[in-house]
């Protein structure tokens, strides 16, 4: 008797027929493959055929794959995944033979093998492309600016951007060198910054490239299997086998009857009663319904001819029903696959989805531990880098150190450590110390459910210690202390209506060698252990709603923040203390976005006294409107007021008042057959900073005319302090420009400028810009503004008379 040789078949009958795993997962496909003989037939047949051998698997006892394919499979696993994995596969094949079923692992590897494109091997591809170097940008710039108040008078900058690939891991490298010269510096000061960042996009592109070169993902998702065909060929084969069996136990005449009795199509489309009917209707066999149900004694010698026929017919039916079961499962597999592919969109979409890509890469490519870890890495930066987490934790930080973000199955982890400082950078050459501690070393982490930019619940911890160091003239020395911050942040996604974020944060500071009250012994505590000390003074909380309401063409933001008087978070330098801050920002569009009205208010109450209500009350309101009168004509207006008042009775109440009305127009169109653009803005501004009260009038006109390939532009700026209070207040500038092309490469503009700052400075000068593409990838930009001082006084700290810049940018092939 020929057994059904695919072990999975027997096993399958005991398994649920439709996989219950989460659809779309690899387990789903593996299970599908494990439980459906027809699918196995299709996959293995296809593999066997690929080897060139004509063998059909289920004729070889216990060996679903023919020998040559098995060898190829082993070689593939060994070559791509290594010897250890091969052992596992061999163990799996052993199980295979023991009819205990295809382990899921094997099914996955087998699917990979099945999807393998000929002659390519992922590992050798990955080895070939493992190392490379690729210069991206090389740029240089230089400037000279003799504005009296400019921090840097001249500077030279160089930046190199490069991508290095090591072990198929792409790393972007930025080397930045800025050197500058300040009026108060002797010689040049130099600043070098470096940044190494793992390039996730390039990494995924790279691995996907390997994947698509070595595997046909359509096959991996069993997308090209002709299940119906496989079921039919499976059924045909099985029916033939059964007929062979019948020959052995029946007379030639009856065998002939059996052989013509049920075709493979009938087996597929008829149910068991209909098949029974076919048996009963056969004239040669002369069977009755009772015969098929009767129990025939199993003593061969004493049996009549009819009894033998009955026995054969019963065996025939039993065998048919087994095959029928498998056929039914095969058809279910077909439907399941079809439904699966429908549910996930086309297979192509599955192949393009980043999450699916990540999964396919993990399953099919031979990755080492680091490469696997990087699949779950969102970001990994080392060097002089920005670090950002949720509010209440680390925000807008710049540090020398390392920060990484990892996301795996909605579990998020961000880790970082580094040192920060308030001064000492080239841009801050003039500062030597600060009121706040000037430098910290810090460690932080943020972890929880969900990605940081989407819905999440995270906790964040930050530990910082002051650093006493001198950074190129900036003295960061401070009393030694340890600060610990614990925070929780939650973001709730409201779909198209935006998102709500809520955060609470608590800080605790512990000075070294400190004591409180009459305690004589000085101690240095770790701030983390006493985090709950002085709770309300060092607590901060915030709620922020940011959203859009598309149907109403509206966008809005509402926020509320509280921070205690002693809340201190060095991880978030922009944070406030002792304040209640709340505000609203609404924007709405009407009439096909032709009309926009925006309103924004920011209110802030800052408490400055440990007890009592002394403090600052700040109010800012802005109303913005824009009306597009015509396609080429729009008007806008802005009305704003901001005030800072003091709430203690000891000082004058009004500290600062600024009221501003601004109207502007933008017009473009043809006039005297020339294309022209015109922007005008006019503003009236009241600014009181006690005891000074100014009333400023601003007028700004820009006009440009396109004349052939040239543009003529004229702009005038005028500002006057009607009350003559501000030194700054009477400024008039007029500028003209003419742009033109020199040859094919050079595009230039030249202009004449005039400036008059009443009684302080008067200048007339020239401005020239040149930009050129010297070569396909080499661009040059030159800017020069030189003026003759008609009048200059010591009060002038704003207006220099030479400002030049030169920039060269070499962009390499990306």
């Amino acid at each position: 008797m020929v057994a059904i040789c695919l072990p999975g078949l027997l096993w399958a009958q005991r398994q649920p027929q439709v996989p219950r795993d989460r659809v779309g997962t690899t387990e789903y496909y593996n299970r599908l493959l494990n439980t459906n003989p027809a699918l196995q037939v299709a996959v293995i047949d296809s593999l066997n055929r690929r080897s060139g051998s004509g063998d059909v698997f289920h004729h070889i006892n216990g060996k679903p794959l023919n020998d040559s394919v098995r060898q190829l499979f082993s070689r593939h696993v060994n070559a791509v995944y290594g010897a250890k994995q091969l052992q596992q596969v061999n163990r799996g094949l052993q199980l295979f033979r023991d009819t205990a079923g295809l382990p899921a692992y094997l099914a996955g590897k087998l699917r990979g093998f099945y999807a393998l494109k000929n002659e390519t091997n992922a590992l050798s591809l990955m080895k070939a492309g493992a190392y490379s170097n690729h210069l991206k940008v090389l740029s240089g710039s230089a400037f000279y600016d003799n504005t009296p108040g400019a921090v840097l008078q001249s500077g030279i900058g160089l930046q190199l951007e490069d991508m290095v690939v090591v072990g198929n891991i792409p790393v972007n490298i930025v080397f930045n060198n800025l050197a500058g010269n300040s009026p108060f510096d002797q010689g040049w000061a130099d600043q070098q910054l470096k940044k190494f960042s793992f390039d996730k996009d390039a990494y995924m592109d790279r691995l996907n490239g390997y994947l698509n070169k070595s595997y046909d993902l359509k096959k991996y998702f069993l997308g090209d299997i002709d299940v119906a065909g496989a079921v039919k060929s499976f059924a045909t084969q099985q029916v033939n086998d059964i007929q062979e069996e019948m020959k052995a136990i029946t007379s030639p005449q009856q065998a002939l009857a059996f052989s013509n009795l049920v075709s493979a199509e009938q087996l597929i489309y008829l149910d068991s009663n209909q098949i029974r009917r076919l048996l009963l209707d056969n004239k040669t066999l002369q069977l009755t319904a009772e015969d098929l149900n009767s129990k025939v004694p199993d003593s061969t010698g004493m049996m009549s001819g009819h009894q033998q026929t009955v026995l054969a017919a019963q065996q025939y039916l039993r065998r048919l029903s087994e095959v029928k079961n498998n056929v039914v499962q095969g058809l279910q597999a077909k439907e399941a696959l079809a439904a699966q592919h429908k549910m996930n969109g086309t297979i192509q979409q599955r192949v393009n989805d980043p999450e699916a890509q990540k999964r396919n890469i993990k399953e099919l490519l031979p990755l080492n531990f680091i490469q696997r870890l990087l699949l779950q890495t969102k970001r990994l930066n080392i060097g002089n880098i920005a670090a950002n987490g949720s509010k209440g934790g680390v925000q807008d930080l710049f540090m020398s150190g390392v920060q990484g973000e990892f996301l795996n199955k909605q579990k998020f982890l961000m880790l970082g450590l580094g040192t920060t400082r308030l001064g000492g950078d080239l841009k801050d050459r003039q500062f030597t110390s600060s009121l706040d501690p000037g430098a910290y070393s810090m460690q932080f982490l943020q972890t929880g459910q969900g990605d940081i930019n989407a819905s999440h619940s995270h906790i964040a911890l930050m530990n910082a210690n002051t650093r006493n160091k001198n950074y190129g003239g900036f003295d960061a020395e401070s009393l030694k202390r340890n600060i610990f911050v614990g925070a929780f942040s939650e973001q709730i996604d409201l779909g198209e209506y935006g998102a709500i974020t809520a955060d609470i944060s608590k800080s605790n500071t512990s000075f070294n060698n400190a004591a409180t009250g009459n305690t004589a012994a000085l101690s240095s505590k770790t701030a983390a252990f006493t985090l709950l000390d002085d709770f309300w003074q060092t607590f901060s909380a915030g709620l922020d709603y940011n959203g859009e309401w598309k149907a109403a063409r509206m966008s809005q933001r509402v926020y509320f923040n509280y921070s205690g008087l002693a809340y201190t978070n060095p991880g978030s330098p922009g944070g406030s203390r002792g304040t209640i801050r709340y505000g609203l920002n609404v924007k709405r569009y009407w009439n096909k976005r032709k009309v926009m009205v925006g309103f924004r208010t920011d209110l802030q109450d800052m408490n400055t006294a440990a007890s009592g209500s002394a403090g600052w009350k700040n109010r800012q309101y802005t109303l913005d409107t824009r009306i597009r009168v015509k396609k080429n004509f729009s008007l806008s207006a802005r009305i704003g007021q901001s005030t800072m008042k003091n709430t203690s009775h000891l000082f004058p109440e009004m500290g600062y008042l600024n009221r501003q009305i601004n109207v502007a127009s933008q017009l473009s169109g043809k006039l005297f057959s020339y294309q022209q653009n015109n922007n005008i803005s006019f503003g009236v501004q009241q600014m009181d900073i006690l005891p000074m009260k100014s009333l400023l009038i601003n007028l700004n006109i820009n006009h440009s005319i396109v004349i052939g390939t040239h543009v003529l532009s004229v702009s005038v700026f005028y500002n006057k302090d009607v009350k003559d209070q501000a030194l700054y207040g009477n400024l008039f500038t007029a500028e003209t420009g003419w742009s033109y092309q020199l040859g094919k490469i050079w595009s230039c503009s030249s202009g004449i400028n005039y400036l008059d700052n009443k009684n302080v400075v008067r200048q007339i000068g020239l401005r020239q810009t040149v930009s050129a593409s010297l070569a396909e990838r080499l661009h040059l930009n030159l800017y020069a503004d030189c003026r003759k001082q008609l009048l200059n006084t010591p009060q002038n700290y704003l207006f220099g008379n030479i400002n030049t810049q030169l920039a060269l940018n070499y962009q390499l092939n990306r």
Binding site: L426, K427, E477, F511, L565, R600, S648
Partner: protein, 352 residues
Amino acid sequence: MQTYAAAQVSFVFLPEVQGRTLDGLFQVRIAGPASERFMARLQVTVTVPREGKVVTIKTKPFEVRPGVNPLPAGLISGAGINFGNGKIATICRQSGYFTEGDYEYCFELLGEANHGGESLGTQCFDYYLQPFSPLLLTSPADEDDICDKRPSFYWQPLLPAIPGLQYRLLLVELKPGQAKTEALRYNFPVINQQYINLPMLFFPPSAKALEEGREYVWQVTAYKEQLILANSEIWTFKVNCTDSSKPFVPESFRNIEDLVKGNFYVARGRLLFAVHNIYDKADLQYNITCITKPEQVVKKLPTIKLERGNNHVIIDLTDNKSFTDGYYYQLSVRLPDGESYQLRFLYKNEVE
């Protein structure tokens, strides 16, 4: 000897600046005796009425040299600190900041070695401290789109106004993909202007104008001499002026003869067609009538100039009130060569 030392030592301290934070106290400078060097410890005591002691800090011994000298480097990190029990002391212990109050700051030099334990000089400063208001930026608003390529900058002053307080404004381009704090350090500033006395700055006339489509970050620092008092938040804005006049890119022009032969033409805001003019430059003779509402008169049609040769004609109807979405119209064109065409079309509003 002792009295000699005591009389010779004095302290240079600016409470309106240095009296604001614990670390600020150590910006004090010691004016030592003219010729003698000696070892001493510095003890700083800050008290406030009602609450009493806020904090006492005592440094390790250091050498006091002749002349006015800052404290030696590394001294304060090893200092011992003793905080008071009151509310002000609690806030100070947690934040390093002194809250509003009428403080007395006392500096005392305590002798070491052969002056062991003696007071070598003491000086106290009284100051009613009013903590600074926050340093807030005003305009251009955070994340705003602006049209002006030479914008003016406004912020709110740091109050109370102390003598010598000035601002520094930093404006830097934010490159695509760059973090704000990285932009401030990796890129050369467009503006890095110090000595600003008022909370505003006009765009420096000699500086290169900002560029359309680019994003910028800016930050203001309040300082006195070389000391950073406060930093504002870092705000961004983008120069984006083309929003209100989006350029129209025509897809294709079909010859009017073909259009007339074809089915209904759908005009999405404008009519597009090509005509060939064998004569000299002339205005295109055309008119449009409404089929759906024949009584409606179509007015204010733009003048179209025909060049010699092939012409791509765009008749812009978007801002013309005579055209209603979904109505049918008929265009009649008479070319200089005498040929005339009638084109029926359906008007549809332009899709944004």
